[in-house]
């Protein structure tokens, strides 16, 4: 396949387009509200109203405003419909010719959309994720073709380093540095792994990217493979995401048929294959060494590092492992240039970040914002603030490894260092808003129960420590604890953090320490005075 042929496919697609395109979101959220039937009803309405020559109905990926789904958009007319039902299809189609419709309309200029900056999600809600031609029409696979034919691997690594991209899995390790380490490692074989084991409750960014634009992840992985010298890639996706898995499998099959994956792609000497591996419901498999054990068909238990995967990873070969969103940033960087990417965001955190904004907030959904935006802007401008009658108390980022940021710190900018400074982490992108009806001790207990149940059991601090901490939190919630119990809880937090083997245990105390830091009075209010407790015991 040559560039001319790619252009040819794109031209053919463009020529086949009709003047008006009705886009129906068919991602997991909207699919649960009859998105399938809505698309069928739209197609029927177009046929019934004899508009087949000028109107086409298209399946697209996530538009982001999941809280108001199912969504339907008509971009050429600047229309956006919310909470669509199959019954409303005739009226929406009728309105295309100038009629009126009662269906609730969203405002595409609403801050929820206007304040976003789409890099990773540029194609989300615009292309049909199950058609490779849609992706090619928007320039897809041209970058891979260019990279494997015109660039040296070390130049690719250099570009990624210059872009300033950092790992989107949460820890923020510089991506270029990781790639350089794997490229430098010696091995008969090397692997590229995409970590799609998005296990943080309250996070669905990766799911949406995989469901809406699978090819960009695959293309990013192939570019990574070329840069580090790997010929085999694995996409590890959790079993809870059946739609993402099926769309990835379709995408891989299409890319292979077209010759974008496989032996000697784009008539170069570079070969690259990708296989999907399905998780089986273990949170710890998001940890890279546990994930690799799982791909090898074993229990997903982590092992000590070093050696790091870059030196000795999957089957002891050098392995590059990055998160879905990280790979989704690769094509934009290689297409538009490292300098362009480095111009977005803050000094140390470049580019954009996708967040799943959920919980007690008016506008629920998926947002992509430039790094450096403040939490207040996200919560108040994009999110529209609290639902009627309540007051926002805190935002939780980073899931069970993260922390709660109280309302008085909402001017904190979203970047890796600032979030760490206030006792939370960037995390993979879950952002759960909590209002005054949420008890923060209960939130801490919720996360601790999660970590306790998901602890793999390999190291004692995590296995036993999370149980003890959970029981103490339970005791506090039942109003049976004293200040001594609280002191013990804090001691345990410190111990588990410093002695656990992997990230799960090391960060498990975070929800407790961060709520203790900002909402200590809620803990104290639940404690028993010591004398009273002593009397009750006797």
């Amino acid at each position: 396949m040559l560039l001319e042929e790619l252009h040819g496919i794109a031209e053919k697609e463009k020529a086949g387009r009709k003047s008006t395109c009705v886009r129906c979101c068919m991602s997991a959220g909207c699919m649960s509200s009859q998105a399938d039937e809505i698309k069928k009803a739209m197609e029927k309405a177009v046929a019934d109203q004899n508009l087949g020559d000028s109107v086409e109905v298209r399946r697209v990926g996530c538009m982001g405003f999941c809280g108001q789904g199912p969504m339907v958009s008509v971009e050429s007319k600047g229309l956006l419909y919310e909470q669509v039902t199959p019954q409303s299809a005739p009226s929406i189609i009728g309105a295309l010719a100038g009629g009126a419709t009662e269906v609730q309309q969203g405002d595409p200029q609403h801050p929820f959309f206007a304040r976003q900056l789409h890099v990773v999600r540029a194609n989300g809600g615009r292309i049909d994720p199950e058609r490779i031609e849609d992706y090619i029409e928007l320039g897809g696979y041209q970058t891979l073709l260019h990279v494997v034919n015109e660039m040296q691997p070390e130049d690719v690594v250099k570009a990624i380093t210059q872009s300033g991209l950092r790992g989107r899995g949460g820890a923020g390790f510089p991506t270029g540095l990781k790639w350089a380490m794997v490229a430098k490692s010696k091995g008969d074989r090397k692997y590229v792994i995409c970590n799609g084991d998005e296990g943080d409750p309250g996070a669905f960014m990766d799911r949406s990217v995989l469901e809406s634009d699978p090819h960009t992840v695959i293309e990013g992985m192939a570019i990574a493979g070329y840069a580090v010298g790997a010929t085999q890639g694995f996409l590890y996706v959790r079993a809870e995401y059946p739609l993402a898995i099926s769309r990835l499998q379709i995408a891989i099959r299409q890319a292979k048929t077209k010759g974008f994956l496989g032996e000697g792609l784009f008539e170069s000497t570079f070969s690259f294959n990708v296989e999907v591996r399905i998780g089986a419901g273990a949170f710890v498999c998001g940890e890279e060494t546990a994930l690799m054990a799982s791909i090898e068909g074993r229990r997903g238990q982590p092992r000590p590092r070093p050696p790091f995967p870059a030196e000795s990873g999957l089957w002891s070969f050098p392995t590059l492992i990055n998160n879905v969103e990280t790979f989704a940033n690769i094509v934009p960087i290689m297409t538009k240039g490292a300098d362009w990417y480095a111009s977005l965001g803050t000094e140390k955190s470049k580019g954009t970040k996708v967040f799943a904004l959920t919980g007690k907030i008016k506008n629920n959904g998926l947002i992509e914002v430039p790094m450096g935006i403040t939490i207040r802007e996200i919560v108040e401008d994009l999110g529209g603030g609290a639902p009627d009658g309540s007051k926002i108390k805190a935002v939780q980022t980073g899931g069970p490894s993260g922390g709660c940021i109280p309302a008085h710190l909402f001017d904190t900018p979203v970047d890796y260092e600032s979030l760490m400074g206030v006792g939370s982490i960037m995390g993979s992108g879950g952002m759960v808003v909590m209002d005054d009806s949420t008890n923060m001790v209960d939130v801490a207990r919720f996360y601790m129960q999660f970590c306790m149940e998901e602890s793999c059991g390999k190291c004692i601090p995590c296995r036993a420590g999370t149980v003890q901490m959970y029981q103490l939190l339970n005791k506090i919630m039942e109003r049976k604890a004293t200040i001594k119990d609280l002191e013990q809880l804090e001691e345990l937090c410190d111990m588990v953090r410093h002695t656990s083997l992997c990230g799960l245990g090391q960060t498990a105390p975070n929800p407790v320490t961060s709520t203790l830091r900002y909402f200590r009075d809620e803990y104290l209010a639940l404690l028993q005075p010591e004398e009273v407790h002593a009397e009750a015991v006797h």
């Binding site: 997991a28 296990g199 409750p201 998780g279 090898e296 629920n364 759960v432 909590m434 949420t438």
Partner: protein
């Protein structure tokens, strides 16, 4: 060395599908999780016959097969009911009171999460997060997601599913 393949456990055609899966992956030990997925998809759960046969086919010790089957939450060693109901307890659902939904369903079905009713009609499960947080709180009935649920609605919907044959 010639590798002796164990015979299929029975004439049931589903074993052939699983065998094909293992063959595709070259009967390599790393195919274990993929194979267990195939078994569970075909039979609904993993029983001893299946685990031992997979162990022999992939030349993995039965202890390791059992270890993997019990490590991952997705695998179940018990047969499931004709219908499944999964209540999401992810953070977004949790702050929107999914715990009350679970309580209501438990009270209605008279079973706890993780159990199956004695008439084998319903298995009640919970999920960590199904990633549909935009429409929290969510419940998954027989694989289809329902969003923005209240405890009453969730029970009503469940009644609807139970009144249809699986």
């Amino acid at each position: 060395m010639k590798i002796v393949k164990p015979p299929l456990p029975s004439q049931d055609k589903r074993w052939k599908i699983i065998d094909a899966k293992m063959r595709k992956l070259g009967y390599r030990p790393y195919a274990l999780i993929e194979t267990l997925h195939a078994v569970q998809e075909a039979f609904g759960y993993l029983d001893e016959v299946a685990l031992l046969w997979v162990a022999k086919s992939l030349r993995v010790p039965p202890s390791k097969v059992y270890g993997v089957a019990t490590f991952y939450n997705f695998f179940t060693l018990k047969p499931q009911g004709a219908h499944t109901c999964v209540v999401c307890l992810g953070t977004a659902c949790y702050v929107k009171r999914s715990a009350e939904i679970l309580e209501a369903i438990e009270a209605f079905a008279k079973i706890k999460s993780g159990e199956t009713t004695s008439d084998k009609q319903l298995s009640l499960l919970t999920a960590r997060c199904i990633g549909a947080c935009g429409i929290a709180p969510t419940v998954v009935y027989d694989g289809s997601v329902a969003g923005r649920m209240t405890p009453d609605q969730a029970v009503e919907k469940l009644k609807g599913y139970l009144s249809h044959a699986a």
